[in-house]
Each structure stands twice: as C-alpha cells, then as structure tokens.
Symmetry: C2
C-alpha cells in the first residue's frame, strides 16, 4: 500500500516513561517509584474532582454533550470571552493538531524556538510542512522577526512558559512579535503552564483577552498542569470566532470523554486547588535552585512546574537519567532535544527528598 | 488567514442530541428524558467498570501509560493476535482518522455504501478525497467491485453491521470483496456493532483473525457499544504490523484518558456484561419488529443494537423526530442521510414502553 509521502519523515513522540514501565522493567514496587518526568501535578487529584468522578462513575456508557455547552460557558466566564471564541481539545495538544491540519501543507513552513514543545514539529511534519527554528530556546523578538521575513511561516509557535526549558517570554515581547507579523501568519501562544508564570511574575502573564483583538492569534490553555488533570485530556483554544469555526471542521465528535467534560466544568468552579498547587511548587522549587547552586549545576530560571538542569561536560544527561530510572526515579532526559540536560518536575516535599538523595549519589 | 482548501468542503458531524439539550430547550427533567439516539448501551455501565472508575478517581492527574501495554496484551489475548497488530484510538473513530490521514490526499477517492457511518465521508473530505458511494445501502459485492474498477479507490469501507441501517454483510461476502480488490486499496472492516451480529447469526460474524492474512485490510472494533463504554472513547484497529506501524505515525500521544485505559483493560476480562446486554437486546428488539408490523411500518432487519424504521409518504421522519423530542424522547432522524426514516436504539423495557406510547400518539 502506498502511504502519504509525509509519513516517511515522521518520528513518533517519545512520552515520558510511565511508572508501569519502571515496575515492569526493573521490578520496583509502584509505591517506590518517583515520577518527576511528565509535569504532572504532584499534589495529586483535586478532591472535588475525585468526587465528581466517583459520583459519575456509572455513566461511562453515555456519550458526552458534544456541544460542550456547560464547559464553554464556564470557560467563557473564566476568561471573559464568548462561547464562540472557544474550541475544546483532548488536551491543548489536539487543538495544535486542528491548527496544523487546517493551515499547513507541503508548501508551508512553521517557526518555533530552538528548543520547545515537541508536538509542534510532529504535527507540522504530519502535514509535510518545513520546520524552521530560531537560534535560541528563548523566544527573542529579533530572531523571530528575522526568520519570519526570511521564511514567511504559516504558523509561529510561542510556548510561554516554554517546555522543556521552563523560561517565559514577557507579555510585551509576545505582543511585539505578534505586531511584527502580518495577518496571514497564525501566532499560537501556548500557555499550558501559564498559571505558574502568572503567579511568579505579572510581566509574564498573558490572558486570552490580551490576544483576542488579533484575528491571527490563538491562545492555548490546558487543565493538565496546574489543574492536575493530565490524565483526563482536556485543553482549549481561544481565538476570534472565525478562526475557531474553521478549526471546528477538524474536530472529531466526542473528542473528550464524558468524565473529562464533567471534571473540566468542575475545575472551572474554584481556583483554590490551583493556588495550593502553585504555593507548594513555589516553596519546593527553591530547593532545586539551592541544590543546583551548591553542586555547581546550571539551571534555567523556571516559570513552570518543572526545572531544567543543564550539565557541563563532566555530566551526561543520558547516563544520569538511566541511572535514576534504575533507582525508580523518572525524570526527563533532554538529549533528544539536543541538550545535555534534564527536566525535573517539582514534586512534593517527600518526592523531592527522594530525588535529591538519589541524584546526589548518581552525580558524585 | 488562508486555510487549506479542503476546509471549504467540510460539514461537521451532527451528533445525536444530548439529554442536556432537551433539558435546556424543552425544560424536561433529565430523569424524564428517554434517549434512544446514540446507540448507547441501555443497561448502563457495567458495575465492574464503575468500580474501576471509583477506585481510580484520584489519579486524574497522571497521564496514562502511552505504550498501552496492558490493554494491548488484553486485546491480543482476546482476539488471538499480537500486540504489534493493534492500534488504540479514542473510539474506533480515531483509528478511521489515522487511516484517512495516512492514505488519502486530494487525488484519492474512497468507496462506501449509499448509506453508512457518516465519519467515513467527513474524515475523507478532511483530506480532500473524493467520495464514491454504491447504489445500495447494503454492501453488495457486484456494486462494490464495479465501482472499484471504475474509480480505483484508495479505501473501501465495509461497515458491518452497518450504521445507521442495521443490516449486516456476511463474512463470505466481505471476504469476496476483499479478494476482489488489489493490495493498493485498503479495505476497512468496521465491526463497531459486531458483537450483536455475531450473536444473532454466525454467518455474519467476522473476527480479526479472519482478516489478518490480508496486508491491505484492517478490522475496527470498539468498547462503545456492546461493552457500554461510549463515554470513555476507546476503540481499536487490528491489522498486519506494517500497516499498524504507519498508522502509529498519526497517533497523538496520550490519545485516550487514564481512566479510559483502565476501564478498557477491565472490559476485556469478562464477557458476561456483553452477553447480558445482547440478551436484553434480543428480547426487546422483537417488540420493535412487532410494533412495526402491527402499524404497517417497514424496518430493516437489524444486526445491531438499534432498529431502523423506514416511512412511506404518509409519515415524515423530521416531523416525527421533532415531535418526539418535545416529549423528551430522542431518536435519530435519518433525513440527513437522505432517508425518510429513523434510527432507534433498543432501550430497556421501560424506555421502550415510553417510546411506544409516545410514538404511537405521534404517528396517529
């Protein structure tokens, strides 16, 4: 059978290693595995969410309301936008997929920073688009605008805060990039970790309403990180109605589960869980900064729920990640991103204790 | 912004109307709404599944094992195939999407019966492919082979049992169609309702192992119907490893939720719920056949969990569906499929009582 030519050029996304794999491969008991690899919320699941799941555990046979009326109402109140400005995805990932499929083809190019979320490239390659990267992992106006004028990309991705590096781009810089490109280029502002950046520094806070006046900009958000719902797969895109309507043409019906819809609605009701998550995070990340300084390890200042350690030639990120894995500590090796570094999700106090104990031994 | 040209030609799928909509629009209490529109399992959720959901309601923050190791093991045992023969989708729908994206482009055509599952057309149109339909809604060898030779379609869809008509194609006929086309055409055998057909008549039972010797055939199955897990969005494709590997390139990571993965694994453990679902169905569908005969209404003999009534010029499917909707009874109008008919999910005894009471009044 002859497959579409684009398939020749696609590598599949390497997900963070699951606890189950460590259990299977190294015979470590699940309770002894510390997973700091996938930027899951270390507090766990919001008890209010657990309650919603439990009380709806008997409607797994029912399809969700495909209009997602209630969730859109909740999000429109939360972000001060209209229902027609919102599209829901199975994670903001899926909205990235809709965008890619609606806009890209084999004649297109897309522009992103040197090191950023891996799915931008994968979804773009699925459409045969050419990948252009700036020199830096940070989103720098000069680099983006220069590349924009050279390549006229169809899509520019601004991941802020950036994953897997943790740095953020200021609202001012993002708006400058947006103002610097014409209306036929879509600018995707991916705020998957925005709650952490906004809590740390208002200069880096970007809200959908900051962007809604631009017809060629879409804001992406997710329930996976600060809301602690990674396993439920719900994210959203917010943009002008005309753009949302086009993206809807690529949305499959029932693209989130019945329970996912209900928990996302619940998550919109109360910010206290997000606030508690951020408070724990802000307290615990200091330990990672201190540890790095004390051990002569570089790190990128983080605006996210993880921290990125960068190693010099004395340490090898692959060796370190593998050694930790055998000890039941899962972190994210950044070798596949071309970096000699690791991304570590900030865990609970106990998880971080375990990490530091093993990490100190592994690097010594 | 310039969108891909294919978007000009896409209509979005019209999902069955949710209970929430009837509640919102007609002010009917949720408990008084009878939804027989989406072929959901009327027995409800398997209590064993409810238990799994309840006991995992506190891990919504954790991403699923993206290798889906355990689920693939369970499915490979169930169907006597290897892990490498399996791809999991968010419903078998998503596997249809992978297939479409891996194989189709603006130079392709796809072949399907006159009336069949709406998503075949939608996913094909998203890739710009041309839609060819046979004359009949039944999958007839002569019609398929004639159209095959005329159009050389890239994909042939065989939906058996067929949705929204309910008829099934015998294993012999399906194999004849497969043998009649060359290896560059993929034949999709969509068995979303296969459990019902197999229970009714072994001649219509098709198992993945019946098809695995063909490199250009894929079998699709789902947990949404007989397993009663429509709201969890889990389906699968089974084919030769080479084909599965290509489809994997279009699979996004974490494409089903953590709870969906767990419940699908649980569903593979025990067939008694499926058997009970089918037993209820076989008993209740007789009432629909009897009612039709007594009221001079034609119907298509059903191999699925629904029945399709076909009206003559004295009855209008849109008027009838709308009238029932206002009474809180949701069925599926087939006008958008070009049929003056309705598709009714076979409900519980009580649901069917309600349906017959209102339906008798509406058509009188």
């Amino acid at each position: 059978m002859k497959f579409n030519k684009v398939l020749e050029n696609i590598q599949t996304y390497e997900a963070g290693k699951p606890i189950e794999l460590v259990v299977r491969e190294f015979g470590i008991a699940p309770k002894d595995v510390v997973k700091l690899a996938s930027n899951e919320n270390p507090i766990g699941t919001n008890p209010a969410i657990t309650k919603v799941i439990r009380s709806n555990a008997d409607i797994a046979h029912l399809y969700p309301d495909d209009s997602m009326f209630e969730l859109k109402e909740a999000l429109s109140r939360k972000f001060d936008v209209e229902d027609e400005n919102i599209i829901i995805g199975a994670g903001s990932d899926q909205v990235l997929e809709f965008i890619s499929r609606a806009l890209l083809n084999e004649a297109s190019s897309v522009l992103m920073s040197a090191v950023t979320f891996a799915m931008y490239e994968i979804y773009a390659k699925q459409m045969g688009a050419k990948i252009i990267r700036t020199e830096s992992y940070e989103h720098k106006y000069d680099e983006f605008i220069e590349a924009y004028h050279t390549y006229k990309p169809k899509i520019i991705y601004i991941c802020t805060p950036n994953n897997p590096t943790g740095d953020a781009t200021s609202r001012e810089e993002v708006l400058k990039i947006i103002e610097g490109v014409d209306k036929d280029t879509l600018v995707v502002v991916d705020g998957a970790y925005m709650e952490y950046a906004a809590a740390k520094d208002q200069k880096h806070a970007i809200a959908p309403t900051d962007l809604l006046k631009y017809e060629n900009v879409i804001y992406l958000g997710t329930f996976s990180k600060a809301h602690g719902l990674g396993g439920m797969r719900v994210g959203y895109g917010i943009a002008q109605a005309k753009l949302i309507k086009e993206l809807y043409k690529m949305r499959p019906p029932f693209n989130i589960t019945t329970l996912s819809l209900l928990v996302a609605i619940e998550a919109c009701k109360d910010d206290s869980f997000v606030e508690a998550s951020i408070a724990l995070h802000q307290e615990q990340i200091k330990r990672y900064e201190t540890f790095a300084k004390e051990n002569g390890i570089s790190y990128i200042e983080s605006y996210t729920n993880f921290i990125t350690y960068l190693f010099d030639e004395n340490l090898d990120s692959t060796q370190i990640s593998d050694a930790l894995l055998k000890r039941g500590v899962i972190i994210r090796n950044l070798a596949s991103y071309g970096m000699n570094g690791v991304r570590i999700t900030i865990g609970t106090e106990v998880q971080n204790d375990v990490f530091f104990r093993h990490f100190a031994e592994v690097i010594s």
